[in-house]
């Protein structure tokens, strides 16, 4: 098992993750308002333990039936928080999320990773997979901005 030496598991609650690891994640999410993209994808209800395994979060069901935890107003409230120099807006967002809800709703590393992949924040998804879980980078979609570009060989053969 390659996870034998990982620092956390997919079932580790975010509030049990070391502050320094959350801090590093937050600096990644601060760029281009990625935290906002993540926050807008957080589902309303969540049985965190049940949803922590890879690929378990059902995003179609969340979009159509379950709904989202934070609305535009709540996201803008976080965005308008006064941050001092060196403080991170993503850190404030994660602090709110990780302590919110009932005990069984507390977000885990596994839930976080699935949400990051769904929001296509691969900078943070790769970081969580490598540094929190000692896993390889998550697979990329075949299409869209997150897909790796392949060499168009037809272009070469024109020569």
């Amino acid at each position: 098992n390659i996870n034998n030496h990982s620092k956390y598991t997919r079932y580790t609650e975010l509030r049990r993750v070391e502050d320094n690891d959350i801090y590093k994640l937050a600096t990644i999410l601060d760029r281009h308002d990625c935290w906002r993209k993540l926050m807008s994808k957080i589902p309303k209800q969540l049985d965190a333990t049940e949803c922590s395994a890879p690929g378990v979060l059902n995003f179609k069901e969340i979009a159509t039936r379950v709904g989202y935890k934070y609305n535009e107003h709540q996201i803008n409230l976080i965005a308008s928080e006064h941050v001092d120099r060196g403080q991170s807006i993503s850190q404030i967002m994660i602090d709110e999320w990780k302590t919110s809800g009932k005990q069984w709703e507390r977000p885990t590393v596994g839930v976080l990773l699935q949400l990051l992949i769904h929001a296509e924040i691969y900078s943070a998804a790769d970081y969580v997979a490598n540094n929190f879980l000692s896993e390889l980078n998550p697979e990329r979609p075949a299409d869209g901005p997150a897909a790796f570009v392949q060499f168009n060989t037809e272009l070469s053969e024109e020569m």
Binding site: H32, E120, Y122, S123, V149, S156
Partner: protein, 111 residues
């Protein structure tokens, strides 16, 4: 090297001086929109780059910030992107930061 072939350098780790030269070149050609369209960047990201451009920022640099940042793309992908868009000089600027095996694509690219 073998390690690089399996594990290409992230765009975010490209040395600043090379990145500056690359962005100056791409901005002179005014190709950021073409590149953004090619990788299917979402409208919100394209609008963000447009806004930064109006503020006097380099659009190519903003493109690299987003595509190399949030999407954590690597130099191999960027090299292929330039090849597919026939940006031969851009490939030459970054050639030392991709695997030597990929250099054959430079010869096959016409600007």
């Amino acid at each position: 090297s073998k390690r690089e072939a399996e594990n290409p350098l992230p765009i975010a780790l490209l040395p600043v001086c090379v990145r500056l030269e690359l962005c100056e070149h791409l901005d002179a050609l005014d190709v950021w929109k073409q590149l953004a369209t090619f990788v299917k960047l979402y409208p919100q990201d394209v609008n963000y780059i447009q806004k930064q451009l109006q503020r006097g920022q380099s659009p190519a640099n903003e493109f690299l910030n987003i595509w190399g940042g949030q999407y954590n793309q690597n130099m191999h992908s960027l090299f292929a992107l330039f090849h597919n868009n026939k940006l031969r000089s851009a490939m030459l600027i970054i050639k030392d930061y991709v695997d030597v095996k990929l250099h054959k694509y430079i010869a096959k690219t016409v600007d």
